[in-house]
C-alpha cells in the first residue's frame, strides 16, 4: 500500500517512473560504501585483521589463474552433490514408505520431530571419530542436514495432498502408479522445492564447515588453512568464494522453481 503511494509520488507528470533507477543507483552506492568501509577497516585495524579488498581481488585472480580456485570449488561442490543426493534420496523416499504404514508413522513421528532439534553440526566430531578423516563424516553431516528439510517438506506435502483429487483420478480410471506420478508428484513439487531451497544451500555450507574440520582440499579447507597460516587475505578470499557459491546455488534454485511452477498462481496464494 505504501509502496504504491510512493510510486505515484515519484512518477513525473509525463508518466516516467524514476524509481527503479533511484533504487539501482542507491544499491551501487551502498555497495561502494561497503567496500569503502572494508578498505577503511583494513587500514585502521591493520591487514593482520582485515584484508585489503584490492589484495583479495588480486588473490582471487591469482588462484583462478593457477587452477587452485577451480580445484577447491570442484571438490566442495562434488562432496555437496553426493551428500545432497544421499540426503534427498532418504528425505523423499522415506515419506513415500511411511505413507503406507500409518501406524508405524504415528509411533515414530514424535521421535523424528524431536531429532530435528539436535544441532547436526555438533555431531561432526563424533562422525570423525567413527568414520575417520576422509569424506565419510562430511557426507554424513551433509546428508543429515539435507535429509531433514526435505523429509519434513515431503512429509507435510503428502499429508496435504487433496484426497478429493486422488478420488477424482481413481473414478476416471487412473491406476495407482499413475496417481503417484500425476497427482501426488505434481502436488508435492512446490513442497519439494521449498525443501530444496533450504537444503541445497545448506549442503554447500555444510561441505564448507566440514572441510574446516576435516580434509586437505576444498574451499573450507582453503579458508581454515589460510587462517591458521595467518594468511588473512587468503581467508577473506575463501570466504568470498564460499558466499558467492552459496548465493549462486540459491538464485539458480529460485529461477528453476519459477520455471517449473507456472501453473501456480503465486506463492502467496498457495495453500500450504
Amino acid at each position: 500500500m505504501s509502496n504504491a503511494e510512493q510510486t505515484m509520488d515519484l512518477a513525473a507528470p509525463n508518466g516516467f517512473n524514476w524509481r527503479p533507477y533511484i533504487v539501482r543507483a542507491g544499491q551501487i552506492a551502498f555497495a561502494v560504501f561497503l567496500i569503502w568501509v572494508w578498505k577503511a577497516g583494513s587500514q585502521s585495524a591493520g591487514e593482520m585483521f582485515v584484508a585489503d579488498p584490492f589484495k583479495v581481488w588480486d588473490r582471487l585472480l591469482k588462484i583462478a589463474a593457477s587452477g587452485e580456485l577451480g580445484h577447491h570449488t570442484y571438490v566442495t561442490l562434488k562432496i555437496s552433490a553426493i551428500g545432497f543426493a544421499i540426503g534427498c534420496f532418504f528425505g523423499v523416499g522415506l515419506p513415500f514408505v511411511l505413507r503406507r504404514l500409518p501406524r508405524f508413522t504415528d509411533a515414530i513421528e514424535p521421535f523424528i520431530m524431536a531429532s530435528v532439534g539436535v544441532p547436526k553440526y555438533a555431531l561432526i566430531p563424533l562422525f570423525i571419530l567413527w568414520f575417520g578423516i576422509n569424506d565419510a563424516p562430511k557426507l554424513w553431516l551433509i546428508g543429515l542436514l539435507v535429509f531433514y528439510p526435505v523429509f519434513i517438506a515431503i512429509f507435510a506435502g503428502i499429508r496435504g495432498v487433496d484426497s478429493r483429487l486422488i478420488n477424482m483420478a481413481r473414478v476416471v480410471g487412473a491406476s495407482e502408479s499413475r496417481i503417484s506420478r500425476e497427482v501426488i508428484w505434481n502436488a508435492l513439487l512446490p513442497f519439494f522445492f521449498s525443501g530444496l531451497k533450504i537444503a541445497l544451500p545448506r549442503a554447500v555450507s555444510a561441505a564448507i564447515i566440514g572441510e574446516f574440520l576435516v580434509g586437505n582440499e576444498g574451499i573450507g579447507y582453503y579458508i581454515e588453512h589460510s587462517r591458521q597460516q595467518m594468511d588473512v587475505t587468503g581467508a577473506f578470499t575463501g570466504i568470498i568464494v564460499a558466499t558467492a557459491l552459496v548465493l549462486i546455488v540459491n538464485s539458480a534454485l529460485v529461477y528453476i522453481d519459477r520455471k517449473f511452477s507456472a501453473w501456480r498462481p503465486t506463492d502467496r496464494h498457495m495453500e500450504l
Binding site: 487433496d162 478429493r164 483429487l165 478420488n167 477424482m168 483420478a169 481413481r170 473414478v171 476416471v172 480410471g173 487412473a174 491406476s175 499413475r178 500425476e182 497427482v183 505434481n186 513439487l189 507456472a262 501453473w263 501456480r264 498462481p265 496464494h269
Partner: protein, 263 residues
C-alpha cells in the same frame, strides 16, 4: 426401460472411534433405482448425507450395509479395500468442488480421463474439442484453472466427465456455489448436452426448482438417517425452457408437493 442402477437398503455410519459413543446412522434403509437414460434428481436437506450417498455409488466410500447393483451386477461396497472407484469407468462423478488438477490447463484437464484410460486419439480429441465449444470454453483451452472463473471451472469439470462417456453420471450439487445467472446458463448447457446423448444422470441438489426443472423424476430424502420420503414423476414436456419453467402450472403444483415433503 431397463433398470441400470439399483440401490437397496443402503446404510452408512462412520466408524466409531475407540471410547466414543457409536456414531449415528447417516443413511439407513435407502432404496431406489435408476432406469437407463433417465435423469433422476435427488433432493434432501443439507448435511443429510447426499454426498455420502453419491460417494458410495461412485465407490469411493464403503457402505455399512445394503447393496448397490449396476446392470444387475453386485458392486463390492462393503469395505474400503475392495472398492473399485468409478466401477471401471462406468460411473462418472461430477463432484461439488470442481477438483481440477491445478497444474493442467483446461484442455489437459478435459483430456486427463482419456489419457489415463489410454483412449487418447484423434477421434476422442475431436470429441473433446466439440464439447469445449458446446459449453463456450473455446479460447480458454490453454489457461490454468486458477485463471478461469468459477463457472468456467465448473464447465471444465462437467465436460471432463462427459468426454469419456460413462453410462451413468453422478452429479453432486454441481451448480451450488455459482451465482444465479451462471447457474441458469449452466443448467441450460446441461439440458442441451443431455438431450444430445440421453445419458443416465443422478443429480443431487438442495434446490427444489432445479430438481424439477432438470429431472424426469425426483426423490425426496428425509433428515438423518436418510431414506426416501417421496417420489415424484415430472411430466413437464421436453425440451424445457429453464427460465420459463417457473410459471408452468405443473411446476407450481410439484413445487408445493415437494416443498411439503422436504422437512
Amino acid at each position: 426401460m431397463s433398470v441400470l442402477l439399483e440401490v437397496r437398503d443402503l446404510a452408512k455410519r462412520f466408524a466409531t472411534r475407540a471410547g466414543r459413543e457409536p456414531s449415528p446412522w447417516i443413511i439407513q434403509g435407502l432404496s431406489f433405482s435408476v432406469n437407463e437414460g433417465e435423469f433422476l434428481t435427488i433432493i434432501g436437506p443439507s448435511g443429510g448425507g447426499k454426498t455420502t450417498l453419491l460417494n458410495m455409488i461412485a465407490q469411493i466410500d464403503a457402505a455399512s450395509g445394503g447393496e448397490i447393483r449396476f446392470q444387475s451386477q453386485l458392486a463390492p461396497i462393503n469395505d474400503m479395500k475392495s472398492l473399485k472407484p468409478g466401477l471401471n469407468c462406468q460411473i462418472g462423478y461430477v463432484t461439488q468442488e470442481d477438483n481440477l488438477l491445478p497444474w493442467r490447463t483446461c484442455l489437459e484437464n478435459v483430456l486427463f480421463p482419456l489419457l489415463v484410460q489410454g483412449k487418447l486419439n484423434d477421434e476422442t480429441r475431436a470429441r473433446a474439442q466439440t464439447l469445449i465449444r458446446a459449453v463456450g470454453l473455446a479460447g480458454w483451452e490453454d489457461h490454468y484453472p486458477h485463471e478461469l472463473s468459477g463457472g468456467m471451472r465448473k464447465r471444465t469439470s462437467l465436460i471432463r466427465t462427459l468426454v469419456y462417456d460413462p453410462p451413468v453420471i453422478l452429479m453432486d450439487e454441481p451448480f451450488g456455489a455459482l451465482d444465479a445467472q451462471t447457474r441458469l446458463q449452466l443448467q441450460d448447457d446441461l439440458m442441451r448436452l443431455w438431450n444430445l446423448g440421453k445419458k443416465t444422470i443422478v443429480f443431487v441438489t438442495h434446490d427444489i426448482s432445479e430438481a424439477i426443472a432438470l429431472g424426469d423424476r425426483t426423490l425426496v430424502l428425509t433428515r438423518q438417517p436418510s431414506s426416501v420420503a417421496g417420489e415424484h414423476r415430472i411430466t413437464i414436456p421436453r425440451p424445457r425452457d429453464i427460465r420459463g419453467i417457473l410459471t408452468h402450472p405443473e411446476f407450481i403444483e410439484l413445487y408445493q408437493r415437494i416443498r411439503a415433503q422436504v422437512q
